[in-house]
């Protein structure tokens, strides 16, 4: 298994978002830049998008790192101090969960 560095988790996060984009009409696609707000105020994901993203992340972490990180059974908004979550802050959070 590769090492789950912060950069690798960020890349993984962006690839999950890119796969979601593949399933959306062109007009609904969003940026996967590290600074893109994905959850919270001004976030690009609606509630269904957040669910798809969380499930996609759990599966990708299992496939890539054999890591069982449970995100889908938690209230995500309560896990972050900031009013919004960016691609990078989410990846940092996941990296912390894997290494905790």
């Amino acid at each position: 298994m590769p090492t789950a560095t912060p950069e690798a988790i960020e890349d993984l996060t962006r690839s999950v978002l890119a796969r979601m984009n593949d399933d959306l009409p062109a007009s609904d696609r969003f940026s996967t830049d590290p600074t893109t707000v994905i959850i919270g105020d001004g976030g690009v994901l609606d509630s269904l998008g957040i669910a798809n993203f969380i499930v996609g992340m759990e599966e990708a972490l299992e496939d890539s790192y054999g890591a069982s990180v449970s995100l889908s059974d938690q209230d995500l908004t309560g896990l972050f101090d900031a009013p919004h979550v960016t691609v990078r802050s989410f990846a940092t959070f996941v990296h912390g969960r894997i290494n905790s």
Binding site: D23, L24, P25, D28, L48, A51, N52, I54, V55, S72
Partner: protein, 557 residues
Amino acid sequence: MGDVRTELLLVSDFNLANFAGILRSRESLPWTPRLAPLDQVVSALSAPTSSDASALVWTRPERISAEFQRALQYVPADVERSLAEVDGFADVLLNAARHHRLLFVPTWQIPLAYRSGVSELRYGHGLHGLLAQMNMRLAQRVADAPNIHLMHTARWLQQAGDGAWSDRLWYMTKTPFSNAVFQAAAADLQAMADQLGGRSVKLIVLDLDDTLWGGIVGDDGWENLHLGGHDATGESFTDFQRTLKGLKERGILLAIASKNDESVALEAIDKHPEMVLRRDDFVAMRIDWNDKASNIADMVRSLNIGLQSVLFIDDNPVERSRVREFLPEVHVPEWPANKLLYDSALRSLPLFNLDTLSAEDTQRTKLYQDEAERERTRAGHTDVEDWLRSLETEVVVAPLNDADFTRVHQLFGKTNQFNLTTYRWTEHELRERMADPLRPIWSFRVRDKFGDAGLTGILGLYLKDPSTAVISDLVLSCRVMGRKVEETLLHVATEQARNAGKIVVRADFIPTPKNKPCLEFLQRSGFDQAGASFTWHTDRRYERPSTLALTLGPSPV
């Protein structure tokens, strides 16, 4: 189905929002998806709709059958009661089919991983056995509704693999499937739209060496080719040829484009004892050292078939790439390097519409061969009228009847070039028209001294207006275009309109990317043009072309 997008209502007892997004991302689909309220299947299907709206009805078996729900909880189910619940659902579908243009209904599935003991498939026992019975009952109940199309969910699950079912998405969003399943479903829906819209493959162009047989005939000699016998590769080529022969019997034309010495290749086709396909099975051949893409374009032009109706199969990736680049409309699938996979690769292509079989389908190769012979005689005549007269063409016109119904429906679905509106009448709509005296339809059969082209033309009139007969349908197969049958269609239209007491006959042309030949004919037909409308006053006769004979059956007017 025309080229204008209509509504596709997504009706389900689970969340189809992800599926709706995937459908919206497919710009070539002829429908705009709209989500019905979640888990309100009966009321959504009963609500008033526009006349051209279609629906996709995707349900879970446990929501349709309380007995199946009990079976899921390991309670022995009453099979008859479960099937009665399926009947109730079928009644809802049959009722909805009356006011929807098309209904798509994915079959019921549960995860194969669910186990219910050694009797799980025994008739009358077990979860999977019960589900199979429910699906079969539904198929039986809707079999006579031509606008209800069951869809094969199991294929989508297989394509999506291990991640097809998603418990995570189910508990978070009430979506039981991953997007891989929805992508496969969308691809199948696209294939159905193409087939229902007349965009299925009509011609397969085949390479020879290492495509139709194993080996290089010019190097190895026909006696040493891998074909048939007790050899894995030889058997696989025989199976591949058998499948092609079966498609040919269903009306798909076969042709050859091969870089070879023609005499050497034809010797193999004629003499190899294990060849399933023989020379007569092909409508055209280009066996030479010229560019294949140019050869294909030339063949397709002479057969008068649209490039979008052509499939090219070649083992050589360079040739595939060349044809893709030069003829982007032609279907050029990737082809397996392993020859043992050829037959299944062909069978897996979602490009053929094999739903119905008409007499013309089984004779199609001969019809095109007759046409080639006809064209050859043209060279001997300097005057077109003289040539047309020499063909001894006879056109037989008859009101639409049960015997011709399948072919007429097919012709509406497949004809693109000479088609006034390109409206794809469903079987259901066509049956209704047969009973409507204000919307008569006539079929046109064409034959000449070279052969019988069969039912190749359709004329439809709308007679509601007291003074004007509207030509609602003007359809002619490309097989008989240019032989004055076009003028014969208008002759019959004007005569029937006059018989019905109409003063004016009007044809309103609806353009598509492909029906310019119809417009060009109308512009030179003698009808008066105003924009896209063409009119004729019935106080003048629109004469029958003198180059052909016309027999008119009894009129329904």
